[in-house]
């Protein structure tokens, strides 16, 4: 009994750390899907792209992956604005976002994965950093720094986003655009510009999430697909567009996944998130804290 | 005589915003009811709740003697409730004739129990298009139409469902004087054949000449309901339109 309890506590702690990281991964989707209503299923692809960029620079120059991701923020932001512009002109303006917009992002996800596959092959890649390896110990609880540092970085980024959304003019404009585009126009703010900025930010978060991902686990091109379900499951469960809800849902998913992996084996983990998603969509589509 | 439409205590909120607050409304069979109110007063929301496009939180809607709460919109249409949308929602990839075919195939056909003959459907589509003044545009697509023509199509599509009660939501916006006369004449003719009509409009001359009874909605509440000439003189109504 003692052993099981230790195992359970360990699983829960690991799950919480994982959950923090999941929140960072999902933050971008909370913005693009939750607030802007854009089903960007290519988001995990950008995260993996971020991972690989962090990996190359880390391996070549020994720079810490998180620093790489921060340096890459403007690049990812720019990429996001360009993609939004294409999406807007081709689909949103024509009112075709449901079928063609989805196919577009699916194509982008797919192309990203195949390009990475061609460039790097199927081998798992991992980065090197001083905090990968050592752990903190508090009694029966193990806190691998490999998980703890990304979790803390994730929470920092998440808090920064929340402050941006609730305190800055642009951030509040983003919230406004998600609720009432027309009213925003009446206030002489261009909704398209706001959405472009918001989408740019959502892709920028992928840069950071990618670096955190490759710290936590080795990556290969198809890893992104595992995260599609997780990301949307968390977003929907947390209530679309609610950043605090996303955090809670992410922690919840992390813990459930961790417990399942510990007691039933890791091969069931991918199904957990998706199962969550299907159940949430079927029974409580507005999520835990949704509007 | 029992009302064909009976709305009781209907309320609808969107998050914290109360769009409709305890609306009571009765419409008699064969009546011509006008519904007016400033923009944002909840007229379209009321229509959406009556027709099942939106679900109201509280209150009840009864149509033709039966409670329709919980029924999907398409089922209410089958029972004889039809509406046009304030912002036209045509089927963009279908021709105008095919736009009208949809309610015929799915409402009239359902009621009749037997499949309609192709020629009858064709003829009926042409007839409806003629009635609203779109006769030779049968095989055009909605994108070729002007805003005004799209509103006419909306009305024709609602008529194609052969309703007992037709709700015309701002079908006359932007029409010329003679076009308004045409549509009014059309609605009167429909009414004479037994169809109850609720007319939602901003064009006061049309509303006044058409309605047997007038209801006024302001900020989600019904503030007046009675004979048109009495309602327009009601101080509360005047205040709502002209401000304090």
């Amino acid at each position: 009994m003692d052993v099981s309890l230790d195992l359970l506590i360990g699983a829960i702690v690991a799950g919480l750390l994982l959950g923090g990281f999941y929140a960072a991964v999902t933050a971008g989707i909370s913005i693009s899907f939750g607030m802007l209503d854009i089903v960007n299923i290519a988001h995990p692809g950008f995260i993996i792209l971020g991972s690989y960029i962090a990996y190359i620079i880390n391996i070549q120059f020994g720079v810490d992956p998180m620093i790489v991701s921060v340096v890459m923020l403007p690049v990812f932001y720019l990429l996001g604005t360009v993609i939004y512009q294409v999406y807007y002109l081709s689909f949103e303006k024509r009112g075709q976002e449901s079928l063609r917009g989805l196919a577009f992002f699916f194509g982008v996800l797919f192309v990203t994965e195949v390009v990475l596959l061609l460039a790097f092959g199927v081998d798992y890649r991992y980065v090197e950093a001083p905090y990968i390896g050592p752990s903190l110990h508090f009694g029966p609880i193990d806190l691998p720094l490999r998980m703890l540092v990304p979790c803390l970085a994730a929470l920092t980024m998440f808090t920064a986003l929340q402050i941006f959304i609730s305190r800055t003019f642009t951030g509040r404009a983003v919230l406004a655009v998600s609720q009432d585009q027309f009213a925003l126009q009446l206030m002489a703010v261009d909704p398209v510009r706001i959405k472009r900025i918001a989408f740019g930010i959502s892709i920028a978060t992928a840069s950071i999430a990618g670096a955190l991902l490759v710290i936590i686990q080795p990556v290969e091109p198809s890893v992104g697909r595992e995260y599609i379900g997780r990301v949307f499951a968390i977003c929907v469960l947390g209530g679309l567009g609610s950043l605090p809800g996303t955090l809670i849902a992410a922690m919840l998913l992390g813990v459930v996944e961790s417990i399942t992996a510990t007691f039933y084996g890791p091969s069931w983990a991918p199904a957990i998130a998706f199962g969550f998603l299907l159940l949430t969509l079927a029974f409580r589509p507005s999520g835990l804290l949704g509007r | 005589m029992s009302a064909i439409l009976h709305v009781q205590g209907l309320s609808k909120r969107f998050g914290g915003f109360v769009a409709l607050d305890g609306i009571d409304l009765e419409v008699q069979p064969g009546e011509r009811l006008g519904l007016i109110g400033p923009n944002g007063s909840g007229k379209s929301t009321l229509v959406n709740c009556i027709c099942g496009t939106l679900q109201n939180e509280t209150g009840s809607v009864a149509f033709d003697g039966n409670v329709v709460d919980g029924l999907a919109a398409h089922e209410r249409t089958h029972r004889g409730l039809a509406r046009s949308f304030q912002l036209p929602r045509p089927f963009p990839s279908l021709t105008l004739a095919d736009n009208l075919r949809i309610p015929m195939l799915y409402t009239v056909h359902k009621r009749a129990g037997t499949p309609l003959h192709a020629e009858n459907v064709e003829a009926r589509c042409a007839e409806l298009l003629q009635m609203v003044g779109l006769a030779n545009k049968g095989n055009h697509r909605p994108r070729d139409l002007t805003q005004v023509e799209m509103r006419k199509l909306e009305l024709a599509r609602a008529m194609a469902a052969e309703p007992k009660l037709l709700i015309a939501d701002e079908s006359m916006a932007g029409l010329s004087h003679s076009e308004i006369e045409d549509i009014l004449a059309l609605l009167v003719k429909l009414n004479e054949s037994g169809i109850t009509i609720i007319l939602i409009e901003h064009i006061m001359t049309a509303v006044m000449s058409f309605s047997q009874r007038l209801a006024v909605l302001v900020s989600g509440k019904k503030i007046a309901d009675g004979k048109p000439q009495d309602v327009v003189r009601d101080p509360e109504v005047v205040r709502a339109y002209l401000g304090e």
Partner: protein, 332 residues
Amino acid sequence: MAPFTLIAIAVATAVFLVIREPNIEYLFVAGYTIVQYIVLATAWNILGGYTGYVNFGSAAFFAMGAYSTVALVTFGNEIDELVPESLAPIFHLIFPLSIPTLIVIGGVVSGIVGFGMGYLTLRLRGAFFAIATLAMAVVLQTLVVNWEFVGGSGGAYIVRPGEFPGLGSYMQYLFALMLALAVLAIVTARAIERSRLGYGFAAIRDDELAAEASGVPTLRLKLVATTISGALMGMAGAPFPYYIGYLQPQSAFGLEYAVNSIAMPMIGGTMSWVGPLVGTLLLGTLQQVANVTISSAVNLLLVGLLLIGFVIVAPNGIVGLVQDRLRARRAK
């Protein structure tokens, strides 16, 4: 039988005989893949192009067909271990099941899966449905990977008989069956297009809210679309274990099925049965050539880029472009 159906059967027969002439086994192998995609693309388009609901999980429906075959064949091989002695003779009479029977069963299984998934998610917006299809694909793959009876992650071997009496190699038989399925898929799609059901689908695709208000029972029709689409995909998957010999979950649930089922109709044109056919023939042939000359990864990259390109530039696909050209010429 309707004239179109007869023509379709005639064309399929002609194709079979033409492919048979040079007696090169590879032609059957490549031809099977392309014709299989005709079925998948046409099936996808019934839900995607006609009704407007994107399915990212085509691979899952395909794999359900394949794995019901694997399960039934494995069961057939192990009757004596699994069934009480008294009942064994009955089972030995029924098993092994012929491939046409397996196809029907595969279709039923995938149809039920489609119905079930639709029931859970079709009340919500199209975007949620699309995400749910992705989710479902992963869940089903995880289940299969953990199901030892069908081989789990290690895979399953299905022995292909060497010959089919009267036809020649077994591959020819599989090819003929797939051609028959393609005929079925196209005839079904065309029948839907011209029917009351097709109008209902189009109304849902164009404006679901207005469709409801016009009396279209949108949920019911969407369920019909999902079920038919899923069933056809399952039927396409049922012979797959025989075709490939050794079936691993990664191949059955492979990404190329999801991408191609979407890319082929969207590039060909989603408004009618012609589009998926055109798209499949073009893309399918392109890929067979690319697989041999370049590499399968570059081939998939091309498909992805073409999909993005067409979706942005030519929303109605190749068929749409041709129609526009004809309309412009007629206007002159």
